[in-house]
């Protein structure tokens, strides 16, 4: 059971990554090319996923949409990772008041619906890919902070930390050079799950029209646009949905697989 999760996850992600890299150089049709005559044509050999209300090829748009999904997901997770680990490490290691305050803030952020926070952020600093990434990044900080803090609390008591202290290593050195390498696996697991959440949040925001703006293609926005024509062109709504699910599924499987491995160690 342990291995299957990782393999399924890896297979899905490799497929999507391949599609994404291909889409950078080649898509069956230019992504923005409109062709009014071919409006709403159903899936066919010519247009694998059919065309949308401007006659644009949905497959090409979905393929290039994957670029945004990966791009936003990766950067958002990166932000969440860097700040989350930093906060988690410091509060886990130092503890005391600092820990108390940061954890209170983290709990409050977790209690607050993520989308709401992103909405506020985007409304304040304006829509667009830059702000979407920052918003989702900040939203994922608490989960990283929590995971890191708990592993730091645990590792703080281990021998190798005491011996490092004995050698007179400064707290910063201990945090980054001694403990960090030992706590990477829970962080990796939470970054895969974080990636899945980031993709879902980006899709959500774009669906509300507040996420990624044209000309960047986005699955969430495609879903929003497709909803109007669902009764005459249902395929328009199905294609982007499937790919969001696939990407998130891939990361969930990967995350679970890693988690099983890690619990085995």
């Amino acid at each position: 059971m342990k291995k299957t999760n990782i393999t399924i996850g890896a297979v899905i992600l490799i497929f999507l990554l391949a599609m994404m890299t291909v889409s950078i150089f080649y898509t069956p049709y230019p992504v923005t090319q409109m062709n009014i005559k071919e409006r709403f044509s159903p899936p066919s050999l010519k247009h694998f996923f059919g065309t949308d209300n401007f006659g644009r090829d949905i497959l090409s748009r979905v393929m290039s949409g994957s670029q945004t999904a990966f791009f936003v997901g990766a950067l958002a997770v990166f932000i969440g990772l860097v700040f989350g680990v930093l906060i988690g490490a410091l509060s886990g290691y130092i503890g005391g008041i600092f820990d108390e305050i940061t954890m209170r803030i983290m709990d409050a952020m977790l209690a607050f619906p993520g989308i709401l926070f992103a909405l506020m952020f985007v409304a304040i600093f304006g829509v667009g890919i830059k702000n979407t990434i920052t918003a989702i990044g900040i939203m994922s900080i608490p989960s990283f902070a929590r995971v890191t803090r708990s592993s730091y609390l645990q590792h703080k008591e281990f021998e190798y930390v005491k011996s490092a202290k004995a050698k007179g290593a400064s707290p910063l050195r201990i945090i980054f050079f001694h403990i960090l390498p030992n706590v990477t696996s829970p962080i990796i697991v939470s970054s895969t799950l974080g990636f899945a959440r980031a993709v879902l949040s980006e899709a959500g925001l774009s669906y509300l029209g507040l996420g990624v703006q044209p000309p960047y293609p986005s699955w969430g926005r495609m879903l929003n646009e497709s909803q109007v024509f669902i009764s005459i062109a249902p395929w328009y709504a199905i294609a982007p949905g499937i790919f969001i699910t696939l990407l998130v599924l891939g990361f969930n499987f990967l995350g679970d697989g890693l988690q099983d491995l890690e619990s085995l160690k």
């Binding site: 209690a111 619906p113 993520g114 304040i124 669906y207 709504a237």
Partner: protein
């Protein structure tokens, strides 16, 4: 008791912090509430009159304290967009979000928990594997996509459910629930998956415990052991994540209200943000935070009901 005070107090600070941030940020962001209300043909005299009415000319700090004083006296000030007390606006919209959240919470509990137990009982066997696979997919599917598909399938094709529009509880409770079923299901699905996974792991942990052996030694059958002993013990950790889930339900409902165009808090907030209706945005934040505090409070009470150990310390 001290425990609740501390938790409530920290939530209070966060609410105030969030509202201060919103207040300040609303000053610096582009977009003018007066213009977005009056539109293109607004006459300069009308603009000045409205600015006066909404006392936008007063300095920032005084406006914040007027608002804060108002919050504690229950008067959240007037919405810029509707010139109607913010609390009236929110109160008649909050019922939608609240009932929606309630239905999806019930769905989550009454579908997630049993399925979780079944998947634990038949772990590594056909039913167990099937349920975990489905829950894996359930977690991955974006809730608004499920919403669109459900609306298409049940609304347009099968015409079982009304496609949009909301019947308020006071008009007709049954129809109200009917109009909220599809949205509630789409919010519930990803959370049901989470509950299934949590429940399964918790039940498996409890099965290893000693008191289960004692129960078996009394001659109880597996299902009796599950329902009489394991369920109650396994549900405690699940209740804690229900607190977290209630936050995602509120978040989820913001998007789902858009899919099914339900007049809930979510859409009210989005419109409020786009029309820079500061008092309304502040009001909604306070209401949502209060709702979260209440939900967490209820969950803590649930905790003490089920787990006597907590009642004493």
């Amino acid at each position: 008791m001290y425990f609740y005070l501390k938790k409530g107090f920290s939530m209070l600070i966060t609410i105030i912090a969030v509202t201060v941030i919103t207040f300040v940020s609303f000053q610096i962001i582009p977009g003018d509430p007066v213009l977005s209300r009056l539109g293109v043909d607004a006459d300069q005299a009308q603009i000045d009159a409205l600015k006066e009415e909404l006392n936008l000319n007063k300095p920032l700090a005084t406006r914040y304290f007027i608002w804060l004083k108002g919050v504690f006296t229950g008067d959240m000030g007037q919405s810029f967009r509707y010139s109607v007390p913010v609390s009236d606006l929110i109160l008649n919209r909050i019922s939608v979000t609240f009932i929606l959240a309630l239905i999806s919470l019930l769905l989550i509990i009454f579908i997630g928990v049993p399925l979780g137990i079944i998947s634990a009982r038949y772990n590594n066997r056909i039913p167990g594997l099937f349920i975990s696979f489905i829950s894996q997919i359930g977690m991955a599917v974006p809730s608004f996509w499920t919403g669109i598909l459900l609306m298409f399938l049940f609304g347009i094709v099968l015409k079982w459910f009304a496609v949009s529009g909301y019947v308020s509880w006071s008009e007709n409770p049954l129809l109200c629930i009917k109009s909220l079923t599809l949205p509630a299901v789409s919010i519930a699905i990803p959370n049901i998956a989470t509950v299934i996974r949590y429940m399964k792991n918790m039940v498996l942990d409890e099965m290893k415990k000693e008191y289960v052996k004692t129960a078996y030694s009394k001659g109880l059958s597996t299902s009796q052991v599950l329902s009489k002993h394991i369920l109650k013990n396994a549900i405690i950790p699940v209740i804690t994540i229900l607190g977290m889930i209630s936050a995602t339900i509120l978040g989820g409902s913001i998007i789902i209200e858009q899919v099914f165009s339900l007049p809930g808090i979510g859409r009210l907030l989005i419109n409020a943000i786009t029309t820079r209706d500061l008092p309304l945005v502040q009001g909604i934040i306070v209401y949502i935070s209060v709702m979260i505090v209440i939900i967490n409070f209820i969950i803590d009470i649930f905790y003490t009901i089920i787990d006597p150990r907590i009642r004493f310390n």
